[in-house]
Protein backbone atom coordinates (compact mmCIF):
# COMPACT_ATOMS: atom_id res chain seq x y z
CA UNK A 1 0.00 0.00 0.00
CA UNK A 2 2.64 2.46 1.10
CA UNK A 3 5.02 1.40 -1.68
CA UNK A 4 2.30 1.89 -4.27
CA UNK A 5 1.59 5.36 -3.05
CA UNK A 6 5.24 6.30 -3.03
CA UNK A 7 5.81 4.90 -6.53
CA UNK A 8 2.72 6.60 -7.82
CA UNK A 9 3.83 9.85 -6.26
CA UNK A 10 7.31 9.59 -7.80
CA UNK A 11 5.88 8.87 -11.26
CA UNK A 12 3.45 11.73 -11.02
CA UNK A 13 6.19 14.08 -9.87
CA UNK A 14 8.29 13.04 -12.91
CA UNK A 15 5.35 13.63 -15.22
CA UNK A 16 4.79 16.98 -13.55
CA UNK A 17 8.37 18.14 -13.98
CA UNK A 18 8.36 17.15 -17.67
CA UNK A 19 5.34 19.40 -18.22
CA UNK A 20 6.80 22.15 -16.08
CA UNK A 21 10.10 22.11 -17.97
CA UNK A 22 8.40 23.47 -21.08
CA UNK A 23 6.27 25.94 -19.06
CA UNK A 24 3.54 25.37 -21.58
CA UNK A 25 0.03 25.96 -20.24
CA UNK A 26 -1.38 24.24 -23.33
CA UNK A 27 -3.92 27.04 -23.78
CA UNK A 28 -6.47 26.34 -26.49
CA UNK A 29 -9.24 28.80 -27.19
CA UNK A 30 -12.59 27.09 -26.87
CA UNK A 31 -15.46 28.64 -28.80
CA UNK A 32 -18.40 29.15 -26.42
CA UNK A 33 -20.62 31.29 -28.70
CA UNK A 34 -20.42 33.32 -31.87
CA UNK A 35 -17.17 35.32 -31.65
CA UNK A 36 -16.63 34.42 -27.98
CA UNK A 37 -13.86 32.10 -26.80
CA UNK A 38 -12.71 30.87 -23.41
CA UNK A 39 -9.64 29.34 -21.83
CA UNK A 40 -10.88 26.95 -19.17
CA UNK A 41 -8.46 26.54 -16.24
CA UNK A 42 -8.01 23.42 -14.13
CA UNK A 43 -10.39 23.14 -11.18
CA UNK A 44 -7.41 22.88 -8.83
CA UNK A 45 -5.42 25.00 -6.43
CA UNK A 46 -2.18 26.73 -7.47
CA UNK A 47 0.73 24.32 -7.78
CA UNK A 48 3.97 23.81 -9.67
CA UNK A 49 2.33 21.41 -12.15
CA UNK A 50 -0.59 23.58 -13.31
CA UNK A 51 1.58 26.70 -12.96
CA UNK A 52 -1.41 28.70 -11.78
CA UNK A 53 -3.67 27.84 -14.74
CA UNK A 54 -6.67 27.46 -12.46
CA UNK A 55 -9.05 30.20 -13.58
CA UNK A 56 -10.95 30.96 -16.75
CA UNK A 57 -10.19 33.77 -19.16
CA UNK A 58 -12.10 34.79 -22.27
CA UNK A 59 -11.94 36.93 -25.37
CA UNK A 60 -14.48 38.42 -27.72
CA UNK A 61 -13.62 38.98 -31.38
CA UNK A 62 -15.27 42.32 -32.15
CA UNK A 63 -15.35 44.00 -35.58
CA UNK A 64 -12.58 46.43 -34.65
CA UNK A 65 -10.42 44.30 -32.36
CA UNK A 66 -10.32 41.80 -29.52
CA UNK A 67 -11.73 42.31 -26.02
CA UNK A 68 -9.94 40.20 -23.41
CA UNK A 69 -11.61 39.37 -20.09
CA UNK A 70 -9.07 38.39 -17.41
CA UNK A 71 -5.44 37.62 -18.14
CA UNK A 72 -4.45 34.62 -16.03
CA UNK A 73 -1.90 34.25 -13.27
CA UNK A 74 1.50 35.00 -14.81
CA UNK A 75 3.43 36.77 -17.56
CA UNK A 76 3.81 33.41 -19.35
CA UNK A 77 0.07 32.81 -19.17
CA UNK A 78 -0.62 36.24 -20.66
CA UNK A 79 1.92 35.69 -23.43
CA UNK A 80 0.60 32.23 -24.27
CA UNK A 81 -2.94 33.53 -24.16
CA UNK A 82 -1.99 36.26 -26.62
CA UNK A 83 -0.46 33.67 -28.94
CA UNK A 84 -3.59 31.49 -28.67
CA UNK A 85 -5.76 34.51 -29.50
CA UNK A 86 -3.55 35.25 -32.53
CA UNK A 87 -4.22 31.69 -33.75
CA UNK A 88 -7.94 32.58 -33.90
CA UNK A 89 -7.83 36.16 -35.23
CA UNK A 90 -5.22 38.59 -36.44
CA UNK A 91 -7.15 41.55 -35.04
CA UNK A 92 -5.32 43.59 -32.38
CA UNK A 93 -6.33 43.51 -28.73
CA UNK A 94 -8.44 46.62 -28.09
CA UNK A 95 -9.11 46.27 -24.36
CA UNK A 96 -8.28 43.98 -21.45
CA UNK A 97 -10.80 43.80 -18.61
CA UNK A 98 -9.95 42.53 -15.11
CA UNK A 99 -13.10 41.18 -13.43
CA UNK A 100 -11.70 41.44 -9.88
CA UNK A 101 -8.49 41.74 -7.89
CA UNK A 102 -7.55 38.06 -7.45
CA UNK A 103 -4.13 37.17 -8.85
CA UNK A 104 -5.26 34.26 -11.03
CA UNK A 105 -7.27 36.82 -13.02
CA UNK A 106 -4.90 39.75 -13.56
CA UNK A 107 -1.22 38.76 -13.24
CA UNK A 108 -1.06 38.11 -17.00
CA UNK A 109 -1.71 41.84 -17.60
CA UNK A 110 1.99 42.41 -18.20
CA UNK A 111 1.72 40.60 -21.57
CA UNK A 112 -0.81 43.25 -22.58
CA UNK A 113 1.20 46.33 -21.56
CA UNK A 114 0.45 49.05 -24.08
CA UNK A 115 -3.17 47.92 -24.44
CA UNK A 116 -5.76 49.72 -22.28
CA UNK A 117 -6.51 47.56 -19.20
CA UNK A 118 -9.79 48.33 -17.47
CA UNK A 119 -11.22 47.46 -14.07
CA UNK A 120 -13.70 48.86 -11.55
CA UNK A 121 -12.31 51.66 -9.35
CA UNK A 122 -12.30 49.49 -6.20
CA UNK A 123 -10.58 46.70 -8.11
CA UNK A 124 -7.87 49.10 -9.22
CA UNK A 125 -7.34 50.23 -5.61
CA UNK A 126 -7.20 46.65 -4.38
CA UNK A 127 -4.71 45.60 -7.08
CA UNK A 128 -2.54 48.60 -6.18
CA UNK A 129 -2.69 47.68 -2.48
CA UNK A 130 -2.34 43.90 -2.65
CA UNK A 131 -1.03 43.03 -6.12
CA UNK A 132 2.64 42.71 -5.18
CA UNK A 133 1.90 40.53 -2.16
CA UNK A 134 -0.26 38.27 -4.35
CA UNK A 135 2.53 37.94 -6.93
CA UNK A 136 5.01 37.04 -4.19
CA UNK A 137 2.66 34.33 -2.96
CA UNK A 138 2.24 32.87 -6.43
CA UNK A 139 6.01 32.70 -6.89
CA UNK A 140 6.01 30.49 -3.81
CA UNK A 141 3.12 28.30 -4.96
CA UNK A 142 3.62 28.07 -8.73
CA UNK A 143 7.43 28.36 -8.82
CA UNK A 144 9.26 29.06 -12.09
CA UNK A 145 6.04 29.37 -14.06
CA UNK A 146 5.94 32.87 -12.59
CA UNK A 147 9.38 33.85 -13.87
CA UNK A 148 9.50 37.46 -15.04
CA UNK A 149 6.00 38.23 -13.77
CA UNK A 150 5.56 41.76 -12.50
CA UNK A 151 2.49 43.66 -11.51
CA UNK A 152 0.90 45.55 -14.42
CA UNK A 153 -1.89 47.63 -12.97
CA UNK A 154 -5.06 48.44 -14.88
CA UNK A 155 -4.87 51.77 -16.67
CA UNK A 156 -8.53 52.59 -17.11
CA UNK A 157 -11.47 52.77 -14.71
CA UNK A 158 -14.63 51.01 -15.79
CA UNK A 159 -18.11 51.62 -14.41
CA UNK A 160 -21.41 49.80 -14.62
CA UNK A 161 -23.41 50.47 -17.78
CA UNK A 162 -23.19 49.95 -21.52
CA UNK A 163 -19.75 49.97 -23.09
CA UNK A 164 -19.27 50.17 -26.84
CA UNK A 165 -15.82 48.88 -27.71
CA UNK A 166 -14.27 47.90 -31.05
CA UNK A 167 -17.74 47.91 -32.56
CA UNK A 168 -19.25 45.49 -30.00
CA UNK A 169 -21.83 46.38 -27.35
CA UNK A 170 -21.06 45.16 -23.86
CA UNK A 171 -23.11 45.59 -20.71
CA UNK A 172 -21.00 45.95 -17.57
CA UNK A 173 -22.55 45.07 -14.20
CA UNK A 174 -20.82 46.03 -10.97
CA UNK A 175 -21.39 43.76 -7.98
CA UNK A 176 -19.49 42.82 -4.87
CA UNK A 177 -19.47 39.85 -2.55
CA UNK A 178 -16.75 37.56 -3.86
CA UNK A 179 -14.44 40.57 -3.43
CA UNK A 180 -15.08 44.25 -2.77
CA UNK A 181 -15.76 44.76 -6.50
CA UNK A 182 -16.81 42.08 -8.96
CA UNK A 183 -17.40 42.98 -12.59
CA UNK A 184 -19.72 40.96 -14.81
CA UNK A 185 -19.46 41.38 -18.59
CA UNK A 186 -22.49 40.69 -20.77
CA UNK A 187 -21.78 40.44 -24.50
CA UNK A 188 -25.08 41.59 -26.03
CA UNK A 189 -24.44 40.15 -29.50
CA UNK A 190 -23.75 36.58 -28.38
CA UNK A 191 -25.72 36.43 -25.12
CA UNK A 192 -22.64 35.34 -23.17
CA UNK A 193 -22.47 36.32 -19.49
CA UNK A 194 -18.88 36.39 -18.21
CA UNK A 195 -19.48 36.13 -14.50
CA UNK A 196 -15.96 36.18 -13.05
CA UNK A 197 -15.61 34.59 -9.62
CA UNK A 198 -19.14 35.35 -8.54
CA UNK A 199 -19.80 31.94 -10.08
CA UNK A 200 -17.86 28.72 -9.52
CA UNK A 201 -18.75 25.52 -11.35
CA UNK A 202 -17.57 22.08 -10.30
CA UNK A 203 -15.15 23.60 -7.83
CA UNK A 204 -15.67 24.90 -4.30
CA UNK A 205 -15.78 28.73 -4.15
CA UNK A 206 -12.98 30.72 -2.52
CA UNK A 207 -13.81 33.29 0.17
CA UNK A 208 -10.71 35.27 1.26
CA UNK A 209 -12.37 38.63 0.58
CA UNK A 210 -15.98 37.52 0.62
CA UNK A 211 -19.04 39.27 1.94
CA UNK A 212 -21.41 36.35 1.65
CA UNK A 213 -24.65 38.32 2.04
CA UNK A 214 -23.63 40.63 -0.82
CA UNK A 215 -22.46 37.65 -2.87
CA UNK A 216 -25.83 35.94 -2.51
CA UNK A 217 -27.60 39.12 -3.59
CA UNK A 218 -25.36 39.30 -6.68
CA UNK A 219 -26.18 35.67 -7.50
CA UNK A 220 -29.89 36.45 -7.46
CA UNK A 221 -29.36 39.24 -9.96
CA UNK A 222 -27.14 37.03 -12.10
CA UNK A 223 -29.77 34.32 -12.14
CA UNK A 224 -32.29 36.90 -13.34
CA UNK A 225 -29.88 37.69 -16.20
CA UNK A 226 -29.97 34.08 -17.33
CA UNK A 227 -33.76 34.37 -17.69
CA UNK A 228 -33.40 37.25 -20.17
CA UNK A 229 -34.38 36.49 -23.75
CA UNK A 230 -30.93 36.82 -25.27
CA UNK A 231 -29.08 34.65 -22.71
CA UNK A 232 -27.01 31.86 -24.26
CA UNK A 233 -23.96 30.92 -22.16
CA UNK A 234 -22.75 31.55 -18.63
CA UNK A 235 -18.96 31.55 -18.20
CA UNK A 236 -17.98 31.09 -14.55
CA UNK A 237 -14.63 32.29 -13.15
CA UNK A 238 -13.68 28.69 -12.46
CA UNK A 239 -15.08 25.57 -14.13
CA UNK A 240 -17.00 24.69 -17.27
CA UNK A 241 -19.29 27.09 -19.13
CA UNK A 242 -23.00 26.37 -18.92
CA UNK A 243 -26.12 27.13 -20.93
CA UNK A 244 -28.18 27.23 -17.73
CA UNK A 245 -28.10 28.87 -14.30
CA UNK A 246 -26.99 25.59 -12.69
CA UNK A 247 -23.53 26.92 -11.70
CA UNK A 248 -25.20 29.91 -10.01
CA UNK A 249 -27.39 27.58 -7.98
CA UNK A 250 -24.38 25.41 -7.15
CA UNK A 251 -22.40 28.43 -5.92
CA UNK A 252 -25.39 29.66 -3.91
CA UNK A 253 -25.96 26.26 -2.31
CA UNK A 254 -22.34 26.11 -1.14
CA UNK A 255 -22.39 29.66 0.29
CA UNK A 256 -25.73 29.22 2.03
CA UNK A 257 -24.55 26.00 3.62
CA UNK A 258 -21.20 27.54 4.57
CA UNK A 259 -22.52 30.61 6.40
CA UNK A 260 -25.17 28.52 8.09
CA UNK A 261 -22.56 26.00 9.22
CA UNK A 262 -20.41 28.82 10.66
CA UNK A 263 -23.39 30.35 12.50
CA UNK A 264 -24.50 27.02 13.89
CA UNK A 265 -20.98 26.10 14.99
CA UNK A 266 -20.62 29.45 16.76
CA UNK A 267 -23.98 29.03 18.48
CA UNK A 268 -23.02 25.54 19.60
CA UNK A 269 -19.90 26.98 21.23
CA UNK A 270 -17.41 25.17 19.03
CA UNK A 271 -13.74 26.06 19.09
CA UNK A 272 -12.15 26.75 15.67
CA UNK A 273 -10.35 23.39 15.67
CA UNK A 274 -13.67 21.63 16.20
CA UNK A 275 -15.19 23.59 13.32
CA UNK A 276 -12.25 22.58 11.09
CA UNK A 277 -12.72 18.93 12.04
CA UNK A 278 -16.37 18.80 10.99
CA UNK A 279 -17.11 16.49 8.05
CA UNK A 280 -18.47 17.96 4.83
CA UNK A 281 -22.10 17.13 4.10
CA UNK A 282 -22.43 14.37 1.49
CA UNK A 283 -23.72 16.72 -1.22
CA UNK A 284 -20.42 18.64 -1.18
CA UNK A 285 -17.93 15.93 -0.18
CA UNK A 286 -16.94 15.07 -3.76
CA UNK A 287 -16.83 18.64 -5.07
CA UNK A 288 -13.23 19.37 -6.12
CA UNK A 289 -11.33 21.38 -3.48
CA UNK A 290 -14.31 21.25 -1.09
CA UNK A 291 -12.18 20.11 1.86
CA UNK A 292 -9.41 22.69 1.40
CA UNK A 293 -11.76 25.59 0.63
CA UNK A 294 -13.88 24.67 3.65
CA UNK A 295 -10.78 24.84 5.85
CA UNK A 296 -9.83 28.23 4.42
CA UNK A 297 -13.35 29.56 4.69
CA UNK A 298 -13.48 28.61 8.38
CA UNK A 299 -10.54 30.96 8.86
CA UNK A 300 -12.20 33.69 6.79
CA UNK A 301 -15.76 33.46 8.11
CA UNK A 302 -15.88 31.73 11.50
CA UNK A 303 -14.30 34.56 13.56
CA UNK A 304 -17.13 36.95 12.64
CA UNK A 305 -19.82 34.35 13.34
CA UNK A 306 -18.15 33.62 16.67
CA UNK A 307 -17.94 37.31 17.56
CA UNK A 308 -21.66 37.71 16.84
CA UNK A 309 -22.45 34.95 19.32
CA UNK A 310 -20.02 36.12 22.00
CA UNK A 311 -21.24 39.72 21.73
CA UNK A 312 -24.84 38.58 21.90
CA UNK A 313 -25.88 39.61 18.38
CA UNK A 314 -26.71 36.06 17.35
CA UNK A 315 -29.03 34.00 19.43
Amino acid sequence: MKRHLLMGLALLMLAGSAVAAAFDYGLKARRVADGVYAFIGHTEDFDTVNGGNIANAAFIVAPGGVIVVDSGSSLRYGQQMRAAIAAVTDKPVALVINTHHHPDHFLGNQAFAGVPIGALAETRQAIAAEGDAFAENLFRMSGDWMKGTELQQPTRTLAAGPLEIAGRRLRLLAFDGHTGADLVVVDEASGVVIAGDLVFHGRAPTTPHANVAHWLAALDRLEALTRELGFKVLLPGHGEPSTSAAPIRETRAWLVWLVDAMRQAARDGLDMNEVLARPLPPEFASLPLAASEYRRSVGHLFPAAEQDVLEGRAQ
Binding site: M1, K2, L5, L6, G8, L9, L12, G16, H42, T43, E44, F46, V49, N50, G52, S73, H102, P103, D104, A126, A129, E130, A133, F134, E136, N137, L138, R140, M141, T206, P208, H209, D268, G269, L270, D271, M272, N273, E274, L276, P288, R295, R296, G299, P303, E306, Q307, V309, L310, E311, G312
Partner: protein, 257 residues
Protein backbone atom coordinates in the same frame (compact mmCIF):
# COMPACT_ATOMS: atom_id res chain seq x y z
CA UNK B 1 -5.34 12.74 -14.05
CA UNK B 2 -4.68 16.03 -12.33
CA UNK B 3 -7.35 15.33 -9.78
CA UNK B 4 -6.00 11.82 -9.16
CA UNK B 5 -2.59 13.23 -8.46
CA UNK B 6 -4.04 15.54 -5.84
CA UNK B 7 -5.84 12.63 -4.26
CA UNK B 8 -2.77 10.43 -4.09
CA UNK B 9 -0.74 13.23 -2.53
CA UNK B 10 -3.33 13.79 0.16
CA UNK B 11 -3.63 10.04 0.74
CA UNK B 12 0.13 9.97 1.15
CA UNK B 13 -0.01 12.83 3.65
CA UNK B 14 -2.75 11.06 5.57
CA UNK B 15 -0.56 7.97 5.69
CA UNK B 16 2.38 10.00 7.02
CA UNK B 17 0.14 11.54 9.64
CA UNK B 18 -1.08 8.10 10.68
CA UNK B 19 2.50 6.85 10.89
CA UNK B 20 3.63 9.75 13.03
CA UNK B 21 0.71 9.18 15.39
CA UNK B 22 1.70 5.56 15.70
CA UNK B 23 5.29 6.31 16.75
CA UNK B 24 4.41 9.00 19.31
CA UNK B 25 4.49 7.56 22.81
CA UNK B 26 5.86 8.22 26.26
CA UNK B 27 9.62 8.58 26.09
CA UNK B 28 12.62 10.87 25.86
CA UNK B 29 13.03 10.94 22.07
CA UNK B 30 11.32 13.93 20.49
CA UNK B 31 8.46 12.47 18.43
CA UNK B 32 8.42 15.72 16.42
CA UNK B 33 12.13 15.33 15.62
CA UNK B 34 12.84 19.04 16.02
CA UNK B 35 16.42 20.34 15.88
CA UNK B 36 15.45 22.85 18.58
CA UNK B 37 14.15 20.43 21.21
CA UNK B 38 17.40 20.53 23.23
CA UNK B 39 17.22 24.35 23.34
CA UNK B 40 13.56 24.19 24.31
CA UNK B 41 14.24 21.82 27.19
CA UNK B 42 16.97 24.13 28.42
CA UNK B 43 15.42 27.57 27.88
CA UNK B 44 11.72 26.85 28.41
CA UNK B 45 11.77 23.96 30.90
CA UNK B 46 15.04 24.93 32.62
CA UNK B 47 16.46 21.40 32.13
CA UNK B 48 13.84 19.98 34.50
CA UNK B 49 12.88 16.27 34.34
CA UNK B 50 10.49 15.56 31.45
CA UNK B 51 9.01 12.95 29.22
CA UNK B 52 7.13 13.08 25.95
CA UNK B 53 3.63 12.00 26.81
CA UNK B 54 0.65 11.26 24.54
CA UNK B 55 -1.73 12.21 27.33
CA UNK B 56 -0.92 15.85 26.62
CA UNK B 57 -2.68 16.57 23.37
CA UNK B 58 -2.11 19.61 21.19
CA UNK B 59 -4.68 19.99 18.43
CA UNK B 60 -3.88 22.36 15.57
CA UNK B 61 -4.24 22.22 11.80
CA UNK B 62 -1.39 20.42 9.99
CA UNK B 63 -1.35 23.37 7.61
CA UNK B 64 -2.18 26.82 8.92
CA UNK B 65 -3.97 28.82 6.24
CA UNK B 66 -3.68 32.06 8.17
CA UNK B 67 -0.45 32.16 10.20
CA UNK B 68 -1.75 35.15 12.20
CA UNK B 69 -4.65 33.11 13.62
CA UNK B 70 -3.64 29.47 14.07
CA UNK B 71 -6.17 27.69 16.29
CA UNK B 72 -4.56 25.62 19.04
CA UNK B 73 -6.40 23.47 21.55
CA UNK B 74 -4.45 21.99 24.46
CA UNK B 75 -6.01 19.07 26.33
CA UNK B 76 -4.06 17.55 29.21
CA UNK B 77 -7.12 16.15 30.98
CA UNK B 78 -5.98 12.55 30.40
CA UNK B 79 -3.03 13.25 32.71
CA UNK B 80 -4.02 13.46 36.39
CA UNK B 81 -2.79 16.19 38.71
CA UNK B 82 -1.69 18.85 36.22
CA UNK B 83 -0.64 22.07 38.01
CA UNK B 84 0.70 24.15 35.13
CA UNK B 85 0.74 23.97 31.34
CA UNK B 86 3.30 25.85 29.27
CA UNK B 87 2.68 26.29 25.54
CA UNK B 88 5.55 27.11 23.19
CA UNK B 89 6.57 26.92 19.53
CA UNK B 90 10.18 25.86 18.80
CA UNK B 91 10.79 28.00 15.72
CA UNK B 92 8.82 31.10 16.62
CA UNK B 93 10.85 34.30 17.10
CA UNK B 94 9.12 34.53 20.50
CA UNK B 95 8.96 30.92 21.64
CA UNK B 96 6.64 31.10 24.64
CA UNK B 97 2.95 31.46 23.75
CA UNK B 98 1.13 31.20 27.05
CA UNK B 99 1.03 29.44 30.39
CA UNK B 100 -2.02 28.33 32.30
CA UNK B 101 -2.71 27.02 35.76
CA UNK B 102 -5.84 24.88 35.87
CA UNK B 103 -7.17 25.39 39.34
CA UNK B 104 -10.79 24.19 39.64
CA UNK B 105 -11.02 23.90 35.84
CA UNK B 106 -9.91 20.91 33.75
CA UNK B 107 -6.47 21.24 32.12
CA UNK B 108 -7.86 22.27 28.78
CA UNK B 109 -7.62 25.54 26.85
CA UNK B 110 -8.32 26.70 23.30
CA UNK B 111 -6.80 29.87 21.80
CA UNK B 112 -5.10 31.15 18.62
CA UNK B 113 -1.47 31.97 17.95
CA UNK B 114 0.70 33.84 15.48
CA UNK B 115 3.33 31.65 13.83
CA UNK B 116 6.23 33.01 11.82
CA UNK B 117 7.12 29.74 10.09
CA UNK B 118 6.51 26.00 10.20
CA UNK B 119 7.15 24.80 13.74
CA UNK B 120 6.25 22.31 16.42
CA UNK B 121 3.62 23.71 18.76
CA UNK B 122 4.02 22.06 22.16
CA UNK B 123 2.36 21.94 25.52
CA UNK B 124 4.34 20.90 28.60
CA UNK B 125 2.17 19.92 31.56
CA UNK B 126 3.78 19.94 34.99
CA UNK B 127 2.53 17.51 37.61
CA UNK B 128 2.99 17.92 41.38
CA UNK B 129 6.26 15.94 41.28
CA UNK B 130 7.82 18.71 39.18
CA UNK B 131 7.97 16.54 36.06
CA UNK B 132 7.01 17.98 32.66
CA UNK B 133 4.86 15.89 30.32
CA UNK B 134 5.29 17.15 26.78
CA UNK B 135 2.93 16.80 23.84
CA UNK B 136 2.80 18.62 20.55
CA UNK B 137 2.18 18.72 16.85
CA UNK B 138 3.85 20.22 13.78
CA UNK B 139 2.09 23.11 12.12
CA UNK B 140 3.12 24.02 8.58
CA UNK B 141 2.48 27.58 7.55
CA UNK B 142 1.86 28.52 3.93
CA UNK B 143 0.77 31.65 2.20
CA UNK B 144 -1.93 31.41 -0.38
CA UNK B 145 -2.64 33.56 -3.41
CA UNK B 146 -6.24 33.91 -2.49
CA UNK B 147 -5.59 33.24 1.20
CA UNK B 148 -3.02 35.94 1.91
CA UNK B 149 -4.09 37.99 4.90
CA UNK B 150 -5.29 41.34 3.71
CA UNK B 151 -3.28 44.37 4.70
CA UNK B 152 -6.47 46.42 4.44
CA UNK B 153 -8.07 44.17 7.04
CA UNK B 154 -5.72 45.45 9.75
CA UNK B 155 -8.23 46.62 12.30
CA UNK B 156 -8.26 49.71 14.45
CA UNK B 157 -11.15 48.32 16.52
CA UNK B 158 -8.93 48.07 19.57
CA UNK B 159 -8.36 51.82 19.77
CA UNK B 160 -12.01 52.30 20.67
CA UNK B 161 -12.64 49.05 22.49
CA UNK B 162 -9.37 48.08 24.20
CA UNK B 163 -9.86 45.27 26.74
CA UNK B 164 -13.57 44.90 26.02
CA UNK B 165 -14.56 41.38 26.99
CA UNK B 166 -17.43 39.49 25.41
CA UNK B 167 -18.24 35.95 26.37
CA UNK B 168 -20.75 33.24 26.90
CA UNK B 169 -21.28 30.08 28.87
CA UNK B 170 -22.95 26.99 27.47
CA UNK B 171 -25.16 25.23 29.99
CA UNK B 172 -26.79 22.57 27.83
CA UNK B 173 -26.12 20.48 24.78
CA UNK B 174 -22.89 18.65 23.93
CA UNK B 175 -20.77 21.60 25.07
CA UNK B 176 -22.44 22.16 28.42
CA UNK B 177 -19.93 23.53 30.93
CA UNK B 178 -17.99 25.40 28.28
CA UNK B 179 -17.01 29.05 28.51
CA UNK B 180 -15.73 31.12 25.59
CA UNK B 181 -14.57 34.70 25.63
CA UNK B 182 -13.03 37.27 23.33
CA UNK B 183 -10.93 40.21 24.45
CA UNK B 184 -10.29 43.20 22.19
CA UNK B 185 -6.53 43.70 22.15
CA UNK B 186 -3.96 44.25 19.36
CA UNK B 187 -1.42 41.84 20.94
CA UNK B 188 1.52 43.59 19.27
CA UNK B 189 4.67 41.49 19.46
CA UNK B 190 7.15 44.36 19.38
CA UNK B 191 8.85 42.65 16.41
CA UNK B 192 7.37 45.08 13.88
CA UNK B 193 9.56 48.20 13.64
CA UNK B 194 7.98 51.21 15.32
CA UNK B 195 5.35 49.20 17.21
CA UNK B 196 6.31 48.38 20.81
CA UNK B 197 5.20 45.14 22.45
CA UNK B 198 1.67 45.63 23.73
CA UNK B 199 -0.10 42.51 24.86
CA UNK B 200 -2.28 40.94 27.50
CA UNK B 201 -0.31 39.49 30.38
CA UNK B 202 -2.77 37.72 32.62
CA UNK B 203 -6.35 36.62 33.02
CA UNK B 204 -7.81 35.15 36.19
CA UNK B 205 -11.08 33.25 36.05
CA UNK B 206 -13.03 32.93 39.29
CA UNK B 207 -16.56 32.12 40.34
CA UNK B 208 -18.77 34.76 41.96
CA UNK B 209 -17.48 33.78 45.41
CA UNK B 210 -13.90 34.27 44.31
CA UNK B 211 -13.02 30.60 43.99
CA UNK B 212 -10.26 30.25 41.40
CA UNK B 213 -11.05 28.45 38.18
CA UNK B 214 -7.98 29.10 36.02
CA UNK B 215 -5.14 31.53 35.73
CA UNK B 216 -3.73 32.27 32.26
CA UNK B 217 -0.52 34.16 31.50
CA UNK B 218 -0.35 35.28 27.90
CA UNK B 219 2.72 36.25 25.88
CA UNK B 220 3.24 38.11 22.58
CA UNK B 221 2.45 35.26 20.13
CA UNK B 222 -1.20 34.98 21.21
CA UNK B 223 -3.31 36.28 18.29
CA UNK B 224 -4.92 39.69 18.03
CA UNK B 225 -8.32 39.93 19.74
CA UNK B 226 -7.74 36.66 21.58
CA UNK B 227 -10.52 34.11 21.90
CA UNK B 228 -10.29 31.53 24.70
CA UNK B 229 -12.27 28.33 25.19
CA UNK B 230 -12.26 26.59 28.57
CA UNK B 231 -14.32 24.19 30.63
CA UNK B 232 -15.73 25.54 33.87
CA UNK B 233 -15.47 22.22 35.67
CA UNK B 234 -17.66 21.61 38.72
CA UNK B 235 -18.33 25.27 39.50
CA UNK B 236 -21.72 26.76 38.71
CA UNK B 237 -22.99 30.30 38.25
CA UNK B 238 -21.34 33.35 36.74
CA UNK B 239 -17.63 33.45 35.99
CA UNK B 240 -15.53 36.56 36.45
CA UNK B 241 -12.60 37.24 34.13
CA UNK B 242 -10.11 39.80 35.44
CA UNK B 243 -6.80 40.70 33.92
CA UNK B 244 -4.45 43.30 32.51
CA UNK B 245 -1.98 43.98 29.74
CA UNK B 246 1.71 44.91 29.95
CA UNK B 247 0.81 48.62 30.02
CA UNK B 248 -1.33 48.13 33.11
CA UNK B 249 -4.71 48.42 31.37
CA UNK B 250 -7.05 46.26 33.40
CA UNK B 251 -10.36 44.57 32.68
CA UNK B 252 -12.99 42.95 34.83
CA UNK B 253 -15.91 41.18 33.20
CA UNK B 254 -18.64 38.83 34.38
CA UNK B 255 -19.86 36.05 32.11
CA UNK B 256 -23.27 34.82 33.18
CA UNK B 257 -24.37 31.24 32.49
Amino acid sequence: MKFQRTLSVSAFCALLAAMSLAVAQTGRVDPLDSARWGDMHHSVLADAPFEFDDRVRVIAPTTAENPMQVPVTVDATALPGVEEVLVFADFNPIVRVLRFFPQEAPAQLGFRVKLQQSTPVRAAARTADGRWHVGGTWVNTVGGGCTAPSAAAASTEWQRRLNEVSGRQWTEGPNAGRLRLRIVHPMDTGLVAGTPAFHLEEINFTDAAGKRLMRVETFEPVSENPVFTLQRGALAGPVDARGRDNNGNAFDARIAP
